[in-house]
Amino acid sequence: MTSTTIDDAPYIEPSTKERRNYLNDEYGVLSWLLTKDHKRIAILYLISVSIFFVVGGVIAFLMRLELLTPEGDLFTSDTYNKLFTLHGVVMIFFFLIPAIPAVIGNFILPIMLGAKDLAFPKLNLASWYIYIIGGTFGVIVIITGGVDTGWTFYTPYSTQFSNTKVFLTTMGAFITGFSSILTGLNFLVTIHRMRAPGLTWFRLPLFVWSMYATSVVIMLATPVLAITLVLLMVERVLRVGIFDPALGGDPVLYQHLFWFYSHPAVYIMILPGMAVISECVAAFTRKKVFGYKFVAFSSLAIAFLGFLVWAHHLFVAGISVYAALVFSFLTMLVAVPSAIKVFNWTATMYKASVSWNTPMLYVLGFIGLFTIGGVTGLFLGALGVDVHVHDSYFVVAHFHYIMVGGTIMAYLAGIHYWWPKITGRMYPEWWARLSALLVFVGFNLTFFPQFLVGYVGMPRRYHAYAPEFQVLNVLSTAGATVLAMGYLLPMIYLGWSLKFGRKAGANPWGAAGLEWATTSPPPKENFHETPVVTWDAYDYPAFLKAMRETQNV
């Protein structure tokens, strides 16, 4: 492992003068709660999603404790059912969906475009408040007794049979959806209208392309979820027959509607992760991402094809054989653009200058884990195998490899990568490397055994299980312990770095990109002068030349 010149790349002289920046521009609680600055709103989101992540994580850990033994001995069945439901609801609606777009995207996207803010700053603040209102519903649900339907709210269980807080939970998810829609709308308009002079579409960082694709999916899919949840609430409260056969409805219709949103929602969660990975790959190899246009268009292809595969969640739910064949085929197609990305990121490292800093370690972890998550998706898309593993722990393992091994690894990569820009301080590199290692090892130990136990026959959402599944479950719980430490460490050392971290300077990584052309932390208006872009994305020589020229002037 190399030890020299990892941290400091002396291309740009960091400014030593104490400047006004977005953090010290104004003081007081109200200056935060009423801010229209996208960077401060990003911080508000960072704090809120982190709280929900801790809540979801603690719940996950409690479940892993219960699953140490085959008997359901730690919690009652009802409590366990509420735990896995809340884990899913909290992690998906209140953490994974907003995490990268609303935190990292909010902060970085306008700066990457050379803009002073998003197109609609007030709408941006409104989206945070809507998120908080939706989140409050979630918190009320937890306090007042929970909900036990599973995050999928399948009917008729959710409308007829569950006597838990289904209405409040779906209301919370419904409201939070509008927060996503506003963020997506804001991003789309900003990307179209507010690019700096010279920043043409094919000079955009790949992060922007991927966030653009995400925003399109958010705008088109989330309203379907909203409508579906309204129908669910109408049936539950007013007893209008829509999904419940006892009232003349069709329960499989609910599954079609739900997955018409929720499969694209998988891409709402993973596309931003891919966005971060593309940036980090470029920055920590100091190289153009290999096949820029392929990577850019693969994001759009994922967004498009992602809408055509929802019924692969219904292969054993009673759809016709021919529908199953069509959706299985389309599922295979959607895997192609993801594969293209993995190959291109790998190829980028060829003859590169590969840094072993923490964000890059997370990138390597992401590529490895996302590959496993992706190929096991092929197992599930292959009809003959899906019939057996559907609704088993194999599925649980698969989507955690995508969501945790993919999205959360990417989120941590991005948080570490842009931390110096966000806070103006460096995080402690060796602690961060240790945590990246713990996350990787802990993650694999937690979730790889679940592939095996799923194929052997353990169904998901089981409070108690057959004794022969125990060994693999013990491994999984042991892994969860390591993973928990890996997640706790950053919360400690990142907090520590706010006060004690080394001052970062404008461009501590020697990366190419407009966000590294401004000070750390950036001024309230992001740039003292509107930048003019004369270089392609990740064109290091051109970027560095442009930087030297502006510094000399």
């Binding site: 492992m1 190399t2 020299t4 010149t5 059912n81 036990d148 399948y154 008729p156 269980y157 049979f161 569950s162 056969p245 006892a246 069709d250 329960p251 499989v252 100091r286 190289k287 153009k288 054993v316 739910a317 009673g318 054989v321 064949l325 299985s328 085929f329 599922t331 295979m332 895997a335 293209i340 993995v342 190959f343 790998t346 190829a347 490292m349 200058s353 840094s355 072993w356 590529i367 190929v375 092929l378 197992f379 292959a382 009809l383 003959g384 195998v385 019939v387 057996h388 559907h390 609704d391 194929y455 026959g457 169904p459 089981y462 108690a464 004794p467 022969e468 125990q470 020697g510 020589p541």
Partner: protein
């Protein structure tokens, strides 16, 4: 803790196919994944940042490379689709001469009904080597009937029958799990399938029974007074049921319907949905009165009725039957089952 399988038992005719496909996928995707990891590690170490390597050498990507790793994965994925579809199609064709067993899911138990009339709860006895066709429905929420050792699974819906099959290849006792979350005792909605030698199975069948499913259904047919309208003679208020199963019949609105399990189920629970051509929509619903198990008995009875010798089941002329029907309702007492609310399930 000593029993620690990493692979489930293969106990059905499709299990080797599914496992073959699974291991094929493990081999192909495993090889590609390991290759990717090795390349990544090799690059990460060989091209690590050093003082003489601060800035990467720019390489223009050869377009052929992009096409290669777009087209090859596409072909591989389509190959996986075809292999998966092939196994799936094999699973979807029920072999002839299957032993037809009905299963009902409810919170939180599995109930099985054999054609010979035996009922079981959370346990299913089947003979080895014989195809068993399972027709499933739920009394309440969605369940899913999974036989991991047979590699088959079917969601169990509250509003319609779904059928699937297996052929056990090994005697023994294997797990039955509910795979679709269904409430508090979801993880307790489990049972065993006991695969027996055919002779043992015959001995098991000889145990007590209240007569075959069809004969149980016949009693219900009279109990619910179905026979007052569905008589064996043409011209009755209801269609003649003998020999109806498996036929295609015209409906009042001009469409045709195949008389299968689901049509008979619907005709009992929601008779107004599809009216046979030439008949009046006068049948009351039996929703909430006939439970799932009785439905299966009735269904078995209807299926068991042989086609009459003179196969002509001519629907009466529409206008004529209208007159007869209204006249009949006026003069004769129509037997309507005793129920106050007939539209909602209790």
């Amino acid at each position: 803790m000593t029993d620690f399988p990493l692979f489930p038992e293969q106990a059905s005719s499709v299990a080797p196919l599914v496992d073959g496909l699974y291991l094929f996928l493990v081999a192909v995707t495993g090889a590609v994944s390991i290759l990717i990891w090795l390349v990544i590690f090799y690059f990460a170490i060989k091209y690590r940042r050093r003082p003489d390597n601060e800035l990467a050498q720019e390489q223009e990507p050869p377009a052929i490379l992009e096409m290669t790793w777009t087209v090859i994965p596409l072909l591989v994925f389509i190959g996986i689709f075809i292999a998966g579809a092939w196994v799936f199609m094999r699973m979807n064709v029920v072999p002839a001469n299957a032993l037809e067993i009905y299963a009902t899911g409810r919170q939180w138990m599995w109930k099985f009904q054999h054609p010979t009339g035996q009922r079981e709860i959370n346990e299913l006895h089947v003979p080895v080597g014989r195809t068993v066709k399972l027709t499933v429905a739920s009394e309440d929420v969605i369940h899913s009937l999974w036989f991991p050792s047979f590699r088959v699974k079917q969601d169990v819906l509250p509003n319609r029958y779904r059928a699937f099959w297996f052929q056990a290849t090994k005697t023994g006792r294997f797990h039955i799990f509910c795979a679709e979350y269904c409430g508090t005792q979801h993880s307790g909605m489990i049972g065993s399938v006991v695969v027996m030698e055919p002779t043992d199975y015959q001995r098991w069948l000889a145990g007590g029974t209240e007569g075959s499913l069809a004969s149980q259904g016949e009693k219900l047919f009279q109990k619910y007074a179905c026979n007052t309208c569905h008589m064996d003679t043409a011209g009755a208020r209801g269609p003649v049921l003998a020999g109806l199963y498996g036929k295609t019949r015209p409906l009042m609105d001009g469409a045709n319907v195949l008389v299968d399990d689901n049509y008979i189920r619907e005709s009992i629970l929601n008779p107004q949905a599809k009216i046979a051509a030439g008949f009046q929509p006068i049948m009351p619903t039996f929703q909430g009165q006939v439970n799932e198990e009785d439905l299966i008995r009735l269904l078995s009875y209807v299926k068991s009725l042989p086609a009459p010798q003179s196969q002509q089941v001519q629907p009466v002329e529409s206008a004529q039957s209208q007159a007869t029907a209204s006249g009949a309702t006026g003069s004769q007492p129509v037997v309507i089952p005793p129920a106050t609310s007939t539209t909602t399930n209790q």
